[in-house]
């Protein structure tokens, strides 16, 4: 089976500092793939390159068999890759509903059809009752869900989620995990997520890639990866292992 997203020796430097160093991995269609690693490991840079917000210095990024490295962000999105931002960026003065309508209009001509689609998504993300509020008035967890809803409204085949669980309480995290799992199961959308919240990664991901200082140090099933000595050493720390063991 060919991978939906395939990175091969992708690199990015910022003034001599290697942020991402020849990273290669494949994400299969329909997978829930997580990228973890300490702060500054190059996760968001990697994301930006896939999403077209940054241009790789080397290597190739292929989506559905087509190279996408170096395309603009909007062109990447039109091909079926939608993203969220680590620091949420809803359209603040627009209503919650209109935020999602904007996404849904990407592949729809009619505003009414886009509105229907937006309402379906808002119900799914428990935002339907707040649809007439300005997005700026939402709480952080709501804004995070709104971002995911807007990204999904563009009808992606691949959804890139940049730390959507950060700042959520455990119950909210579980709710988000459940929603994402449902969406992945129902619509078959492939999800690639950057995440620090191990609780979410373990519950959600079918495969995990660990980055450290721009280098991929481990890849595999979550249970295997968290026991990898290199991963424990660089990221999770001894405590995590012991807590897990308990």
């Amino acid at each position: 089976m060919t991978a939906l997203l395939s990175l091969s020796a992708v690199s990015k430097c910022f003034r001599g500092i290697v942020a991402v160093d020849r990273v290669s991995f494949d994400v299969a269609e329909g997978a829930l793939f997580a990228v973890i690693g300490p702060n500054g490991a190059g996760k968001t840079t990697l994301f930006n390159m896939i999403a077209g917000a940054a241009i790789p210095d080397g290597g190739t990024i292929a989506f559905a068999g087509q190279p996408i490295g170096g395309l603009t962000a909007d062109a990447v999105c039109r091909r079926g890759v939608a993203r969220t931002f680590q620091l949420v960026r809803p359209f603040p003065a627009l209503s919650v509903e209109d935020n999602v309508v904007v996404g849904a209009l990407l592949h729809r001509r009619s505003v009414a059809a886009a509105r229907d689609r937006a309402c379906t998504l808002l119900r799914r993300f428990d935002l339907f009752d707040k649809r007439h509020q300005r997005a700026a008035t939402l709480t952080l967890p709501d804004r995070k869900r709104l971002e995911v809803a807007r990204a999904l409204a563009t009808g992606p085949r691949l959804l890139l989620l940049d730390e959507v669980m950060a700042g959520l309480r455990p119950t909210e995290t579980d709710r988000m995990v459940a929603t994402l799992r449902d969406i992945n199961r129902d619509s078959g959308v492939t999800i690639l997520l950057i995440e620090h919240v191990m609780r979410a990664v373990m519950a959600l991901a079918s495969r995990v890639l660990v980055l450290d200082h721009g280098v991929a140090i481990a890849e595999g099933a979550p249970q295997t990866v968290v026991r990898d000595p290199a991963v424990v050493q660089s990221y999770l720390g001894q405590c995590y292992r012991e807590n897990e063991a308990v």
Partner: protein, 337 residues
């Protein structure tokens, strides 16, 4: 027609539609109720409301600040006036030429700015620069009589000639009223359509808009082009109403500033803002002038000081403009945009 009406009123509060109907009806009968002098004041108000509405497409909807909208007024005015005085082409055919010229000019300015990532304050400065280029260029352009000015023949008005736009102020009043209504309808249609949503997204957060798949470059070019084309009609109207054109006047920065004061005071990004702002500003300024004249006080520049004070008041007290505040007071708030 019925479909258009449904489309226009869909989602708008019933009370807003009724109020708009009353306002329009009042404006239609106004020339019979007020003096000739007040009719010319109303013409100025509607002219500024029209320009403000056109400017609002760029700034209010798409978030691109143009401080040089005078260039589109000037181009529209000169294209139509030259065609009329030199080739005898009537204003409506002149408009057919003026609109593409202004639109092309807007597209070029937009292309140069957006292609090279000029945004925010720098974009605003660029728009001033182009308006200044045009002013200086037209000051030396022989075909438009350069700085000496271009004059349209003024005959005694035996009757109103709508086709050639020669006639009484009342005729001009109805022309600009119809145009303002058309601009209002156009803006309402634009902002409730796909392109409008994309513009708002760009205004709110350009990077997030791009991440949602919007080709922001293309949609910003559309905004400038449409805004420029709509503004050019104001120029045609200006030429045929005032019958004289000087580059120092039409392309002047004060013309551009005058255009944006209405929507800024009325409410940037709202449909009623430009109209309300023009009414408040010009209406109060004219009242001030009449009051000063009545008391026999001669204060040159009083109007400008008054504009400045209005602007200060609005920026401090009602930073969103008068309309959002008034709309809440009247209970006709539009859906959150």
């Amino acid at each position: 027609m019925a479909a258009l009406l449904t489309r226009l009123t869909d989602g708008a509060p019933r009370r807003a539609v009724i109020l708009l109907g009353i306002l329009f009806a009042t404006l239609v009968v106004a020339p019979w109720l007020v003096s000739d002098y007040l009719v010319t004041v109303l013409i100025l108000i509607l002219y500024l409301a029209y320009c403000g509405q056109a400017w609002n497409i760029m700034m209010g909807f798409t978030g691109q600040l143009s401080l040089g909208h005078g260039i589109y007024v000037g181009l529209g005015a000169y294209v139509a006036a030259v065609l009329f005085t030199r080739y005898g082409v009537g204003p409506w055919f002149g408009l057919l030429a003026a609109m593409p010229v202004a639109a092309a000019c807007g597209a070029v300015i937009g292309f140069l700015a957006f292609r090279f990532g000029v945004t925010g304050v720098y974009f605003a400065i660029l728009t001033i620069a182009f308006a200044e280029f045009a002013r200086i260029g037209f000051d030396h352009l022989g075909i438009v009589n350069a700085a000496a000015g271009l004059f349209l023949p003024v005959a005694q008005y035996a009757h109103n000639d709508l086709w050639r736009l020669r006639g009484s102020p009342t005729m001009f009043y109805y022309v600009i009223l119809a145009a303002t209504l058309c601009a209002f309808i156009l803006c309402r249609l634009l902002i409730t359509s796909r392109i409008g949503y994309f513009w708002l997204a760009i205004r709110e957060d350009e990077e997030a808009a791009r991440a949602a798949g919007i080709d922001t470059f293309r949609y910003k070019i559309y905004a400038v082009t449409i805004s420029a084309a709509v503004t050019s009609f104001a120029g045609v109207f200006y030429a045929f109403f005032y019958n004289n054109l000087f580059p120092e006047q039409v392309f002047n920065i004060s013309q551009s500033i005058q255009i944006i004061l209405g929507p800024v005071i009325g409410g940037v990004g709202t449909l009623f803002g430009p109209l309300l702002g023009a009414f408040v500003l010009t209406g109060l300024a004219e009242s001030l002038n009449s009051a000063l004249t009545a008391f026999g006080i001669d204060l040159p520049g009083a109007e400008q000081v008054f504009y400045g004070m209005c602007l200060l008041f609005v920026v401090v007290a009602l930073p969103e403009g008068i309309w959002p505040w008034l709309a809440r007071a009247l209970g006709v708030t539009e859906r959150v945009r």
